[in-house]
Assembly symmetry: C2
């Protein structure tokens, strides 16, 4: 079986601007080519596009725009974790021997059709994600005594870290107090608790161990993959204060890689809402259940970037199809020691956590330098 | 490396009716479960949906409706060859060890957004596929002297074979003369030259050799896979009388399987328009270039079902995301000897040819019993 490494990446800035999805895809791809002088269009066996956009045939369109004539080419969609699912698909094309070099590009326009959960009648009329965010928050507060200050601390931390991410949607630093006075949207959520839709694209290059030397002296290996879909409906969740699909995906990924939560040096967490960061670090086993807020407070006060060093979805923005890919890029940079001001010292093992639709499905990846 | 077999299938009827995509997906899946008593929902590691529908998160929705909680779940889209590309993706998940059992379900509503080629400005205002169908036909006529009768013979043959396909859109038999009097749509195409959009869904079950015995005594193995994307734009084609992507995909598939065109007992060909069947059987090497029409005439006159035994896209209908899956089902039934009235005697090797958007991309699969 081929081993699979990430050897290149490229990204656009994440922004409020309305940009055509084709331009987003091409610009992230250009950025990847610019950073990988040894990469030739002819090398690329597979082009996978991750998006919720309604435009069809985007992998062929991107391929033509970028001068690539791949064997495998298609779009992958699974809402907010389309990005990591595309990377897992690219992994499988390489591991199975159908490809040696695969390009994955995630892109989303700010007004993506993936933002409204049209299908889930169990939500009644509340189809915007903010409603499940609210119920999660209410449940976590009730069960673990989570406070508004705890939530604001997640947001303050992620905004602070995003300050050093040149591609982030927001580069402003806010105090916990400022965020606690942010505009109230629902009973339990303020503007500052929410990740924001934006336009953006991110690309990664995956290769087999057979050809890895041509592309990188510091490959980052994908050693653990966990995916789990429990339902499509929010209300199938048994317990709104934890994410079952995340727990199951993490178990699969840790088992596959023979790693444990204690081995993790850096984790990219899907903080769609502030409470999601707390829930996920608990459900991934990085801290015990109910201790998420205390842990995040310590990280914030000590400027420890272990969780969401690029600023998370809250600081960086959340262009749905690009998010999982962007999380993988940050983890790759951290493990390669090229994350600049955001660098965590001596990071060897990274975790990526990406999920969809109230954590009805989750993906967990474990990467190693 | 795991070997991968097709061990089950299910389908809906293809029809003019407007049916919600969720119902189509579920009905094909139910049909598959009905025919595979040893299959349990818990066995399924991956659920891939093939469609051009704009509805998001369909793999999770189908999984929930069908009581499946898979690891891998996402939608695959690459226009008209989404079906075969999804099956190749499922193959790679199993070959790579990430899954042992994968369900692929292709579905399309009659009014699919995949039917209009919005992106290709090289077509000017002619965004409906019939315009590339016309130009292909014109080019093939000019180069090889193809006649209206040759084209009508393809349609008459495929309608005749569809008569014995209970799931086909059309079960009417027409004479060549009748079809030559069919309504004229463009300079070179009549209604009878065109495959028709319809609602329909088809599902296949893929498994690794490790677990194959649980599900089938007559597995059909995927031994050759060829995929090629040359462009997204019709006018990038150098020669409108042949399909370069089909030739390249066929070469890759034949090389992988160590099979040759002469080994093929039955072929499912993507006859989006009548001329496409002629071009494809030539470009796949089943006959030499320019001899397609003569070959099809002989098949028709001798009732030899070697090409498109279920009636092709023209007789069966073309629900975009389902088509490639339906082609694989027919080939599987032929190789298992369960195709009933449509059965080709002693079929051992089958070929599936599926393509998108004026053959700007093609997939070729080689299956063996």
């Amino acid at each position: 079986m081929n081993k699979i490494a990430i050897v290149g990446y490229g990204t656009t800035k994440f922004s409020r601007e309305e940009i055509p999805v084709e331009s987003l895809l091409l610009n992230a791809t250009k950025s990847l080519f610019d950073q990988n002088p040894n990469l030739n269009q002819k090398d690329i066996d597979a082009v996978l596009v991750s998006t919720n956009d309604n435009t069809k045939y985007l992998s062929a369109i991107l391929s033509e725009l970028a001068g690539i004539q791949p064997k495998t080419a298609h779009t992958v969609e699974s809402l907010c974790n389309s990005g990591t699912n595309s990377v897992v698909s690219a992994y499988s094309y390489i591991a199975s021997g159908l490809a040696d070099v695969a390009l994955v590009v995630g892109a989303e326009r700010r007004n993506s059709p993936g933002q409204i959960l049209e299908w889930d009648n169990s939500r009644g009329e509340f189809k915007h994600p903010i409603f499940w965010g609210t119920i999660f928050t209410k449940a976590h507060k009730r069960k673990f005594g989570t406070t508004e200050e705890d939530l604001a601390t997640v947001s303050a931390k992620n905004h602070k870290y995003a300050h050093d991410n040149p591609n982030a949607y927001s580069n402003k630093i806010y105090s916990v107090e400022e965020l606690m006075n942010s505009k109230i949207l629902t009973d339990d959520l303020k503007v500052s608790d929410c990740s924001r839709p934006c336009s953006g694209a991110s690309a990664v290059l995956l290769v087999s161990d057979k050809v890895v030397k041509k592309y990188s002296d510091s490959p980052v290996w994908i050693n653990g993959i966990g995916q789990k879909t429990l339902s499509a409906s929010f209300t199938k969740n048994q317990d709104f204060s934890s994410m079952s699909s995340t727990r199951e995906a993490a178990k699969i990924a840790f088992d596959m890689s023979h790693l444990d939560p204690i081995d993790i040096d850096i984790a990219e967490i899907h903080d769609a809402f502030t409470v999601c960061e707390l829930m996920a670090i608990e459900d991934l086993g990085l801290v015990s259940k109910g201790n998420g807020a205390k842990f995040v407070k310590t990280l914030y006060e000590t400027e420890d970037r272990k969780i969401n060093p690029r600023g998370g979805l809250i600081g960086t923005g959340h262009p749905l199809g690009a998010t999982g890919v962007a999380q993988i890029i940050e983890t790759t940079q951290q493990l390669q020691g090229t994350a600049g001001k955001r660098q965590i010292e001596n990071a060897k093992v990274g975790l990526v956590h990406n999920m969809s639709a109230a954590a009805t499905s989750s993906t967990v990846l474990l990467l190693q330098s």
